[in-house]
Symmetry: C2
Subunit: 232 residues, 2 copies
DNA sequence: CTGCCTCTGTGGTCTAACCACACTGTAATC
DNA sequence: GATTACAGTGTGGTTAGACCACAGAGGCAG
């Protein structure tokens, strides 16, 4: 077993045993190296991996943002992983979209009325009406979908859904320029969002799921996403 | 931007541009370091991250297994990430199980009859009838479920489904000892597997999905999985 | 032809040093 | 006394250079 894997194992045990909790701080790299009788290099490789997994965040200097802190951001980590695998042509973009439809439809059907996430979603829709540029709109759109997914109360589903979106974010973002009429598309998306939220609030999960599926598939289809980009 | 992130970016570009394909070999760590004008340490940190993502595999020595090779194993990588987040108590085991039921039901409903994966699944069931010990049985069981998921033809869903299973594999494995009567459970699981495969082959996707959901939930419920393990 | 042995290139590990950064405490200054 | 300037301390980030184990390739004796 490689040295950095020993370090990983040690840290995972600290987490499992509860000796290290969310928001907690890992010992300094030099201290950990001495404690485990390994080099700082190996400790750093382990920390790098945990950072890529979204389990810790490393910060220089001193103070509240300094040191290596335990966080919980599986979404961005899973997103990066999926994005790389898309780059290798192992995961087709179409499968990513299909899976996103699956997860998000499920979440829309199960969304619980009255949770704060739905109120946030409604607030986001209001902000989207006032959004001036495309980038702002898309950022708010992402947050709306995440909020909606979170309303279902399954953190794994919402993390995966966010990661799927993130994996093809750049790729899809480039294609928004291909849209024939952004103003029209934007208006349509806004209307669809309202309809989805209304269905959820009316406890009509089935309809909400249908609307979400059509909403996502419609956007990607219009943007021309779904087939793999050709090799140059 | 940190140095190892530059290296990651460079490698990702090589993948996106198709200059580096699945099965291809990365330049040696020393060569890459010189080419990018960074230290070997930074190159190694980037490679470590890619390895954790299941994008490459590093092998010492020389010959076919040597060097850093591009692979495509998102399943195990996602599984490790989820397992760590379960350790931090951020992702409840119950959500993992629920998501697995969601993905696997969908896959069972969409499984295409006639694909080689279904034949493999059938062969695995035969092997399971002859399996002597629990570990062998569980390993074959895992492969059966993966094969079934792959029959739906969505590589993202099958990768995620495999990773969910892997994330709680050890945890659930320890609990099989709690089963009141393994022989009886084993016989039941085998029968359920047969029923699922039969439903799929009869093009009865709806029934297959129901059976899969009951199968998974039943197992975890019997093993006592679903509530978070108490802190010591 | 066979077997051994050196050579070469791979990743794996370690040491020791330096850097940039952000806070902390102290001391000089107004 | 309050304020400002500055050295001190500890954090992760980066680098250079060395050595190790490993596995194949090729030469060399037998």
């Amino acid at each position: 077993m490689r040295t950095h894997e020993l370090v990983l194992q040690w840290i995972e045990k600290q987490l499992s045993d509860g000796d290290l909790a969310l928001g907690g701080r890992l010992p300094g790299e030099r201290a950990m190296a001495e404690q485990l009788q390994v080099s700082r290099t190996s400790v750093r490789e382990a920390v790098r991996i945990l950072e890529a997994m979204g389990v810790v965040r490393a910060g220089v200097g001193s103070g509240k943002d300094a040191g290596t802190v335990v966080i919980a951001e599986p979404g961005s980590a899973l997103g990066s992983t999926l994005r790389l695998h898309v780059a290798t042509r192992h995961l087709p973009v179409a499968d990513i979209v299909e899976t996103r439809v699956l997860l998000e439809s499920w979440a829309a059907e199960r969304a619980r009325v009255g949770v704060p996430e739905l109120e946030e979603a409604a607030a986001l829709l209001d902000q989207m009406d006032a959004a001036l540029d495309i980038d702002t709109f898309l950022a708010l759109d992402a947050r709306f979908h995440v909020a909606l997914a979170q309303a279902a109360g399954n953190s794994v589903v919402s993390a995966m859904m966010a990661s799927l979106r993130g994996a093809i974010e750049n790729y899809a973002g480039e294609l928004t320029g291909n849209l024939p009429d952004w103003e029209a598309t934007c208006a349509r998306l806004r209307a669809e969002h309202r309809a989805i939220l209304t269905a959820v609030n009316n406890n009509d999960g089935g309809k909400a799921a249908e609307l979400v599926a059509a909403h996502i598939q419609g956007f990607y289809k219009e943007a021309g996403v779904g087939s793999q980009p050709p090799l140059p």
